[in-house]
Amino acid sequence: MGKLKFAIYWGAACGGCDVAVLDTHEKILDIVAAADILFWPVAMDFKYRDVEEMADKNIDVCLFSGAVRNSENEHIAHLLREKSKVLVALGACAQLGGIPGLANEKKRQDILDFVYHGSPSTVSQKGVYPQEKTRVPEGELKLPKFYDAVMALDQVADVDYYVPGCPPEPARILEVVNAIVTGNLPPKGAVVGALDKALCDSCPRKREEKKVKAFYRPQEILFDPERCFLEQGLICLGPATRGGCSDPPRCIRSNMPCEGCYGPPPDVTDQGAKMLSAVGSIIDSQDPEQIEKVIDGIVDPLGTFYRFGLPASALRKKRFL
C-alpha cells in the first residue's frame, strides 16, 4: 500500500483531539509506513487554498474534530468531505457537538453582546461587533457567519465513522486508522474504538442496590471510592454512556463520576433523556413531596445530562421568539 494521505482538521475545537493524535507517538506513522499529511493546521503550514486545489477524493482519511459553530467550519467540512475518501468525526465535538454545544442554551445575540461588550474584562467599543464584511481603506475583510446553533459534523456533512471521547484515547485513533489501512472497514456510520454497551458494563465499582434517598454535589459528601457513584447519590452518566474509553474507565478510576463524553450507547437517540429516566427511576421515595425534594438536589439538569450532546440530542437548540 502506498503512502496514506491524511488531513486533520478542527472546527470549533480546543485542539485536544489533535493532541490525542500526537499522543500516538509516531505509532500512526509506523502503521502506514510513512504517511503523507496534506493538511493539519496545528502542526503543518498548509493553507485552505492547497486543499481547494486538490482533486476530489485525493485525501484518503480526514480526521475532523471540533463542532460546527460558524460558516467557515461548515464550508471547510463540505470542502474536506469533497476532497476525502473517508471522513471521520473525531472526538465528542464532531460527534455530538461537545462542550461548545452548551452555547445552544443561549441566544446568539446574548453571546455576542457579552463577549464583545458585557464581559468585565472586555474594553467595549460602542456598537462594534464582528461583521461578515468590513470595508477598510485598502479593500474588504471577511469573517464567517456566527450561526444560531452549534451543530455536530454529521448535521452538515456525510460522516463515515465516529471516534468518540473528549479527548479520544490515542489507542482508539490508531485502531480506526489501522482498520482503514488494512481494509477492515466497519459498517459506515459506526462508532469505532468503543464498546456496544453502556459504561456500567465495564465499571469496576461495587454495585449493591440502586435506591437513592438524596442526590449530592461531589463536594457535599465524602464518598466511597469503591462503590457505584449513583448508589451514593452522585450523578454518574455511566448508564447512558457508551463504554470503551479505557479499562478501567478514565474518570471512574480518577474517582470522579462519568460525564458522558463518549455519547449515548447504541440505539439511544437522546442521551440526556435516557439518563434522566434512569436517575428518576432510582429515587427511593413514594411520597410526592419527598420526590420533589430529591429532584431539587439535582442542580443544572441540562448541563449535567446534556453536557456533551446537546446539539446531537432531540432537544438540539433552545429557541427564542
Binding site: 434522566l276 413514594q286 439538569p301 432531540a314
Partner: protein
C-alpha cells in the same frame, strides 16, 4: 393566536385511566378534540425520549394519565412516571419549555367528568401560551 388549535398528545394507561377516559364517554362528559390519545400499558412506561419526540413532532402539550398512587396495576409503575416526569419537566424548563405544557394526572374509573374537565383546562391554557416554539 385567533385560530390556534393546540395539539395535545395524551398517553393513557391501560388500567385506571383507560376506564376513566371511557367513563367520560359513557357519562357524556365532552372534552375538546384537541387531545389525541395513545394507549400504553403503564404511565411508567412513557419514556422521556418519547415525550420529547411528541413535542418535536408538533405537540403543543403532552398529557400523561395513570392510576392513582398506590393503585398502579403493576404496583410501582406510576411512581416511576412521577419521578421521571418531574425531572424531565425541570430539565425542559431550563430548556425554555413552559411547565404547563407537560402534565401528569392520575385518573380513576369514577373520574370521567374530572378527566374531561382537565383536558378542557389544559387546552385553554395552551391556547393562552400559544404554539410551541422550542423545537426544530
Amino acid at each position: 393566536m385567533d385560530n390556534f388549535e393546540p395539539r395535545i398528545i395524551g398517553f393513557y394507561c391501560n388500567w385506571s385511566s383507560q376506564m376513566g377516559v371511557d367513563s367520560a364517554g359513557v357519562e357524556g362528559a365532552s372534552y375538546p378534540p384537541n387531545l389525541r390519545l395513545i394507549r400504553v400499558m403503564c404511565s411508567g412506561s412513557v419514556d422521556p425520549e418519547v415525550i420529547i419526540e411528541a413535542f418535536k413532532r408538533g405537540a403543543d402539550g403532552v398529557l400523561i394519565l395513570g392510576c392513582h398512587l398506590g393503585n398502579c396495576h403493576y404496583r410501582n409503575g406510576n411512581y416511576n412516571a412521577l419521578r421521571r416526569y418531574r425531572l424531565l419537566q425541570k430539565t425542559l424548563e431550563q430548556f425554555g419549555l413552559e411547565k404547563e405544557r407537560l402534565r401528569l394526572e392520575w385518573v380513576s374509573v369514577a373520574e370521567g367528568k374530572r378527566f374531561a374537565g382537565l383536558v378542557g383546562e389544559m387546552t385553554e391554557e395552551l391556547r393562552r401560551l400559544g404554539p410551541l416554539s422550542q423545537f426544530s
